[in-house]
Symmetry: D5
Subunit: 146 residues, 10 copies
């Protein structure tokens, strides 16, 4: 049983049944971002999540069992090539130091957690061209002194 | 005349005069993120921006003249090491494919522009620990077929 | 169903039926560059494109269905080795800064879009040796200030 | 005498005298692209080019003498970070194989020379947003069999 | 004013005055690990820390002022070469997956924080050869679902 | 017979029989860390270890025979991506020089062995959030002069 | 039909029939270097070449058909490890700048073509030890000015 | 006294005195390739070589003394960017395996030495365009069995 | 017929028949180091070697036939991760320049051949802990001047 | 006070006074390898070593004081380019797995220490060409089980 195989089954089922990530997210009662990440093998599902995923995708529950184990998170590329994903990397190159400066100015020495963290992707319609809005929300963690 | 030297002068003046990025942003009438990025050499200033920056920082305007040229944007590291900046890279590793999936589901084939783009960094107080909120807002650009 | 498999089927059919990219482009009513890119898995086809591709290549439409999903774009090599492709990389090394300087001189701070973008490859006959003409045409996107 | 120093002097003079690359190109009677590349240290100038460059830039001819030697061409980054330059790299990632396929279809096995090569950067005004047009023109070189 | 220069002054003073890290740590009332990290430019000092550091090192307080700003953390090498530091990297290569398995078994899906984190380095004498004991203590942060 | 296959069989059996690493460690009378490392292919088992592992996992002893050979230790990634493992790498980036300084101060010139080495992973409950405690214990090896 | 498979068939046939590269080259009436390169998938064969290769190797012509398409040239390693090949890379490291200097001194600014290019590998017997003689012969291509 | 400084002095003198590498080679009675390599810091000169180099270049002999020590050979780039030098790397990518095959066929298992090695760069005039001829001549070294 | 497959067969036979490398070396009358290297695919066997290897390993001679061809030597990792192999790399990092200095002092400008080369691995018992003795013996090759 | 500067002073003095490493080693009563490594900044000297080094090199003792601190060991290159040093890396590529196999066969699971380690470089005269003999002698460290 292997996580990549489970992800492939989910993507095939999604295509075959013409499901959207929004449909799938609704079926398990979680956000679109978390649900998509979990289906792509980047989060840990509960047994209940798996049961509901198996139902909406018309797959045997056993084939998704691996989703209940903790994944090895990450991507195979060090620098993303796909342009949609690369733009996030470019934002990091151009604005990374700026984000650091402003987090420290507003919060002190520490980081925005990527673990105690939520994200949303929204569409804002605009006559000059619709806009993608990515909202990242992470707990500030101050550096400990000891 | 060299951009790194200009940035160093700005950072020294900021420290000496105990200015915040918020102060500096206000003085030129722009957002904190754009202002910080410009001072760190990642954006192009107008002559008017430079004049105001020189004033608030008590620097000769000529020393900031280089900020009116278009910069070579980027950072020296391919993978950031500083933990505050690394967390953004980690988000890309864990959620990059998810963001791609959801942008395509909501908008079709294309990207979130990193050029026709704005960003905000906000502090949301929370009794369980304050939260950093990063809002990225970029125009959706559909892939052209021809 | 997997994109690489679809591309391989297309290349095999092209060879078997002695089709040119020009033939294929004509059959779907699109440019040679876009058509080739789509067949190599670098663009998203409409259902209509797929129907026509299946016809000219004498393949079952289902085997090309994957071409209607948005691809992960890119190549496996960071620096291309094949000499025909490497020459484009070499042009970037030698003339990249020049292109940047002239785009900024003519348009201001911003980029040539690689998304709202078209390209043509033409043959210009010349007694001293025929010439390859690559024409790239991308929308200028000015950097936003906010 | 060092090429980087000569380039810096040229860029400083250009800024001080408010010259454009178009002005400089005109003064030596060459294209904008070649002239810019030469000033950035990516081409070899004749003594006549140097004399004219020194004149328009009001610099002693000796300070530009190094431009008459053959340069070590290239850039310091393997993958460009600056977004304006990166887009050319992205085009290579997305369309590199396509360009290879079409050159071979139109010309046979060989390459577009990057040496017997010219390039133009043009502005095409467009009510929907002006467009950058990059035209590359290189001699086709067929692979020799022996 | 530059962090590397401050670090060099501290190291020179330490050598000149024959101070140990233990002496320095005691003088500011903090642990050896945190104190050493701060002096090497990997932590943020309070004004009080700086005052005490300046005293024990017989340096003007202004020369250490930079230590009150938040540092860019990290090392210049991606893979450490120095054998003493490399052994930590080797432990990560050999036992990294094991640590991940056991953290998840004992705590669930999440990480050991490297921010809400303390570390101690101790010497345990042993007739068969003294032993280095490194104790890392980080808050467990569970992955959020949303 | 191949080590990766043996590891996969162990992981499948562990999941199927709902065993913990603690259970497995107990069955062979060794520590959790060593046992997990051995099962993941990072240590050499005795015939006795293999016999007991085969029993608790209800696998034929022959399928684990490869565990008695000395493994090629390591991980496929140069820089770990998984956040749980990355935090150890980040500790090395931030505190690596500090660890070196303090080992030398307490022991002289030499290293903490990663071979004559033990490690424990413990859970320390804490009302403010449980803590992961990693204790590394390695023999100090002084550099030889000759 | 895949080039690697065709190469493997050729190498197997060569071994089985105890053919030398010299034999194979003679059979198609081309040089040893070009013939070997073509069989290893680094050149494009004519239909006539393929017919003759199939004959001497006693293989069905269809299995070599792929050799008539233009290959993706290159090797999988960025720096060669095999010592016989590495020595060529070492020559480049030690004498690369020298070759550049002398090409420019003798020909002016330009390159030795690797496309309009032939190479020979010869054995020169010598009582002090036989010598390998590699002769590279490429057209000089002058850099164009425009 | 530092090798880079000596090389720079030589290059400056060569430019000032309008010497060619051929002139310099003749003055010390060695080949152009070896002489150029030595002047660029890639070979060891005898005291006699240094004396003659100092004479022809009108430099104090002491300034070239460092050329009598054994250099650290190599270039700063792993993959050369300059097109004139890159073509040699490309030849290695395209023909490296071919060279290996033919050396083994003609000589058995072993290498062409890059130490007991000479090279010549010649110009062969040709009405269809002059040709660069690079002749490498290295002793064959058979792999020892023991 | 593929070298990796042959190596795997040898390793399986060695394990099944409980042979040591010493046994195998003795059976073919060669050193342990050369024999092991040959079995791991890093040297070329004679027909006689292969016949004896096939005998002692009770394998059909044909399955080892590939060992008579010249191998592509090398390892897949640029920097070894396995600690036993890494220590050799570390020796190179720490003592590489020293070895160079002393070879040049004792022999002049040149190298220790890795081709006309033998190596032995010995065990030296020692009450304070047994010692590994690696003896490398390579012909000195002086750099040629021409 | 900086280690690179101290090394440069030593190398200059060695050249000026025409000392050999053998002379220097003798003056401090240590082996040539250790002495050279220490002078190149790869080992820690005692006060007595420094005193003797200062004497033989006719340098003020203070200028060598830094040699008494523990160095950051290593080289700047990941893969050595200099041919004399590269051969050691090549030995690792070709014989690394062999060394691992034989250490394990003779000693069990463990490593040859690079810390409790000595090395000698000797010249063995031979009518067929003198030979470099490198003898590495490191304590075997068995992997601990716990």
């Amino acid at each position: 049983m292997d996580r990549t195989a489970a992800t492939r089954k989910i993507l095939d089922a999604k295509l075959r049944l013409k499901l959207t990530w929004a449909d799938i997210a609704q079926s398990i009662g979680r956000s679109e971002v978390w649900t998509t990440a979990a289906c792509l093998g980047q989060a840990t599902c509960s047994q209940d999540d798996i049961k509901k995923l198996a139902e909406i995708m018309d797959l045997p529950k056993e084939e998704l069992e691996i989703l209940a184990t903790v994944p090895y998170r990450g991507r195979s590329e060090v620098i993303p090539q796909d342009p949609t994903i690369y733009r996030l990397y470019e934002i990091l190159l151009v604005y990374g130091d700026t984000i650091k400066e402003l987090i420290h100015e507003k919060f002190g020495d520490g980081i925005m957690s990527a673990i105690d963290f939520t994200m949303d992707i929204d569409k804002k319609t605009d006559p000059a061209g619709d806009r993608v809005v990515v909202t990242m929300n992470g707990k500030f963690l101050p550096y400990k002194k000891w």
